[in-house]
């Protein structure tokens, strides 16, 4: 039976505690200025693919309402960052908070049909809310990743249901800066109950189960405050309902269902049944049963550990990162657009952080040169991945002059544990935390965009928990 082979998450460290001019209390995660839905998806994917077991997907589904491009498929960028071969099925799923679960269903179909063996599904979101809106304080940015397949699954998918609906509930036109919403009473009273009930009833009936037979209900609604009442209406007890705010993450749009599932799986026991329901332009429902294999799998870091890293930020900083508050830039030249041919030649280096090892003297080096930095042999190299390597800071500085949305910029010379060195920006790090010897890992981030062409690259960040790759 098909199911989930692996799971992972990415949670931004930035935590917003107050919003608005009135400083209304909030608890939510905010993607940093060097993060977007794609970078978070890469983070979640590596968390999933390079944990206790190594996976090599042949299918990549990327789900979000906030893709990096209106036209330029994101799943191939994700596949490149993961150094996957050309023959990888890629699909972008978007335009709805239901995209995450829809991507899971589509991947499940591919696995069931045999056209994919390990289907990676990444769901990520950074939904744009108007300052002062109710949703602003309750929304969160993050990403979840799952690998679907057959065989040694940690959770079997017992059944699925997918219902479609044309709802004017939350929408965004091409030129709209923020998500628009109808008043929040409408959908929970009139639209969600009948369709969610129908989906839940069908998926449980097909499996011969009742709500009491489920250990956890993971219910995502675009209006999270309606969660508890609807769950009760469906016949679930309070203790069965997973916290919709995910302990301070916030309501994460297309990523939410996946993140909630990851959170549930991290503490799940074999035999437990999880009912995952996501509403948005329809309703998707998946019924899962945890297997004993859950004890054998661990993501590289995981959701709970990621959530424990926190950097409180002020509301003004969040507004500036979202380009909602312009700040006078330093007098520095603007960066030119990136050269497409140069980026193409360097794609494995820049996107997958792939270096090389000299076949003659064994020296690890990044980036891969033509001539070995140690023995001077020419063109005698094997590829050597650096994306999951850890290292230590050899020396560092904090740059107050460089163009940055989040100055000053910490920079470090990183010596990798497996050999090799790179000079990198350090992210998710307060300048005062930099020191010689600081253990760091690398993370996929967004540097800038020139003429809308985004330059992605890797940065260092302090290591927080988790097991080394």
């Amino acid at each position: 039976m098909a199911g989930i082979l692996a799971f992972g998450a990415h949670v931004p460290v930035n935590r917003l505690e107050h919003v608005g001019i009135e400083r209304t209390a909030a608890t939510r995660r905010v993607a940093g200025p060097d993060e977007d839905s794609l970078t978070m998806a890469v983070g979640a994917a590596l968390d999933c693919l390079r944990g206790s077991h190594r996976f090599q997907p042949d299918y990549v589904g990327f789900a979000t309402t906030t893709p990096p491009y209106a036209e330029k498929q994101a799943a191939p960028i994700l596949a490149t960052a993961l150094a996957l071969p050309d023959e990888t099925r890629t699909v972008d799923v978007g335009h709805s908070v239901r995209a995450g679960t829809t991507a899971m269903l589509t991947a499940l179909d591919a696995v069931t049909a045999g056209s994919a063996h390990q289907a990676l599904v990444c769901a990520a979101d950074t939904r744009p809310w108007a300052p002062g809106s109710i949703e602003e304080s309750a929304s969160g940015d993050g990403a979840a990743a799952l690998v679907l397949g057959k065989g040694d699954v940690v959770a079997e998918i017992l059944g699925t249901v997918s219902l479609a609906a044309d709802w004017n509930n939350q929408w965004r036109g091409p030129a709209d800066p923020f998500v628009r919403t109808w008043e929040e009473r409408f959908a929970p009273i009139e639209q969600y109950p009948p369709l969610v009930s129908a989906a839940v009833a069908k998926v449980l009936e097909r499996a011969g189960l009742t709500p009491a037979g489920c250990h956890k209900l993971i219910l995502y609604l675009p209006q999270p405050r309606a969660n508890r009442r609807l769950a009760a209406q469906l016949g679930f007890r309070t203790d069965q309902i997973l916290d919709h705010q995910l302990a301070g993450m916030g309501s994460a749009g297309a990523a939410h269902a996946g993140l909630a599932l990851v959170a549930a799986l991290e503490s799940a026991q074999p035999g437990e049944r999880l009912l995952l329901v996501a509403a948005g332009d329809g309703v998707d429902a998946l019924l899962l049963q945890v297997t004993p294999r859950i004890r054998d799998f661990a993501p590289r870091q995981g959701f709970a550990t990621a959530l424990a890293q926190q950097r409180p930020i002020a509301y003004e900083r969040y507004l500036h990162w979202r380009d909602l508050m312009a700040i006078a830039p330093p007098r520095r030249p603007t960066r030119p657009r990136p050269s497409a041919p140069a980026a193409w030649r360097k794609r494995l280096v820049n996107m997958a952080f792939c270096g090389a090892r000299c076949r003659i003297c064994g020296t690890a080096q990044f980036p891969p040169p033509r001539i070995c930095i140690r023995c001077r042999a020419r063109d005698e190299f094997e590829p050597l991945p650096f994306a999951c390597q850890r290292g230590r800071v050899q020396t560092y500085t904090t740059d107050y002059l460089a163009l940055s949305p989040d100055p000053p910029t910490p920079l470090a010379v990183v010596d990798f544990d497996g050999g090799g060195r790179a000079i990198l920006e350090v992210t998710d790090c307060a300048p005062g935390d930099l020191r010689i010897g600081l253990p760091v890992e690398v993370t996929f981030r967004r540097l800038f965009a020139g003429e809308s062409l985004i330059v992605y690259y890797w940065k260092a960040r302090p290591v927080h928990g988790g097991t080394p790759a």
């Binding site: 030249p333 020396t395 002059l401």
Partner: protein, 395 residues
């Protein structure tokens, strides 16, 4: 048989414009002013110069940068560039031309016009065309030297910062006596220590001035120098060294040294016959783009043993009245750093000192001088070390 350059070439004339925020001057004006001064100093007319080189990073491409404003007629004119070592590179080319016997007189001009850009700091980028790389500011790239040096030699952050400030203090004291310098007032240690941070731990007072200026030099073969002046200055060594630039990929490099400077210095000392630079040199002009650079260079140039330069700095060993005066004209710090001009400006101070024309900055019995000019960043740079002497055939 390779003979080297020692005592084969002499400087017979030089000129240097006032350095500063020269909003009144374009690159053309600076070039004309510097070249005119140098020719007047040598007592020659433009037609006597057989070949020209101009060193500049961003203030002009091709030799036309020089030939057009000077209205040079029918001569070889070439632009050379090695980042901030462009000035020395132009000088080196001119020296080789006369030493080879291809030219009788050659001129090198270094020029940079930085203040038209409107930017804070240097408009120089290390980012590759694909955009994927750290967008260093120049101060950040040199600031990496500081924690590594401090850690290796046991200085805490506060002591380290004081050592750096003492270097800035010295150079401003010297610049205060120099009518051509960009900054001409002494600055006390408290002001230096409190200056706004540019790249930790470097404050703005640890950074060279962003400056416009030009300097020019005329060279002839040593045996002909007497035709132009009674007191020429002789070239004892010209050593340029570029490393493999692998310090950003090779953990072997520890960021406490500038390896190209050490290599160029060894070669220059061998060529000039110098065995103990600290006692044999009477002054040195070094590339203090940042205070930490000067600190590290004291060891790379063998003025201090490894790990001891910081003590020498605090002891005043490199002050104007110290064991070996370093940057008696104020250095890049207070004379300012017009990128292509600095290498030639360093020669200018040595040219004055060796001929006892340095006025209130004059160092007694100045016979042997060193210039170190650096282009690039600590892990990827070119160093040019020049040794000049008052007397041919003798140190």
């Amino acid at each position: 048989m390779i003979r080297g350059i020692r005592d084969r070439v002499a400087i017979v004339g030089m000129g240097c414009t006032p350095f500063g925020e020269r909003f009144d001057c374009g690159a053309d004006d600076l070039v004309v002013d510097a070249a005119t001064m140098a020719m007047a100093d040598a007592g020659i007319s433009p037609d006597q110069i057989d070949a020209y080189w101009v060193g500049t990073l961003k203030s002009g491409t091709s030799g036309l940068t020089l030939s057009r404003p000077l209205q040079i007629r029918d001569r070889p004119v070439t632009r050379v560039e090695n980042f901030c070592a462009s000035g020395t590179e132009a000088f080196r080319a001119a020296c080789y031309a006369v030493a080879a016997g291809v030219s009788d007189l050659a001129m090198a001009v270094g020029v940079e016009k930085l203040k038209d850009s409107g930017y804070s700091g240097l408009d120089v980028s290390l980012v590759p065309p694909d955009g994927a790389g750290v967008d260093f500011s120049v101060p950040a790239s040199f600031a990496l030297l500081a924690p590594a040096y401090f850690q290796k030699y046991g200085l805490n952050a506060e002591l380290g910062k004081r050592v750096l400030a003492r270097i800035a203090w010295k150079n401003h004291q010297n610049g205060a006596l120099n009518p051509l310098a960009h900054y001409r007032r002494g600055v006390d240690m408290d002001e230096i220590l409190a200056s706004p941070v540019m790249a930790e731990p470097l404050g703005i007072m640890d950074c060279a001035g962003v400056t416009d200026g030009a300097a020019a030099v005329v060279v002839a073969r040593a045996e002909d120098a007497g035709q132009y002046r009674p007191d020429p200055v002789y070239v004892k060594a010209l050593a340029v060294s570029a490393g493999a630039s692998s310090g950003d990929a090779d953990p072997f490099y520890d960021f406490t040294t500038i390896t190209s400077a050490a290599d160029a210095a060894r070669k220059a000392y061998a060529e000039a016959g110098i065995t103990d630079p600290r006692t044999q040199l009477d002054l040195a002009e070094v590339h203090d783009c940042f205070t930490v650079t000067e600190l590290v260079l004291m060891e790379d140039l063998q003025f201090s043993p490894r790990g001891a330069a910081w003590r020498d700095v605090l002891d005043g060993s490199f002050d104007r009245n110290g064991v070996l005066p370093v940057n008696p004209d104020g250095g890049l710090k207070s004379f300012g750093h017009p990128i292509g001009a600095s290498g030639v400006r360093m020669l200018f101070e040595c040219y004055l000192q060796l001929r006892e024309k340095a006025g209130p900055r004059q160092i007694r019995d100045a016979r042997l001088a060193l210039c170190h000019n650096l282009g690039g960043v600590p892990w990827s740079c070119i160093s040019a070390v020049t040794v000049l002497g008052r007397h041919p055939e003798a140190l």
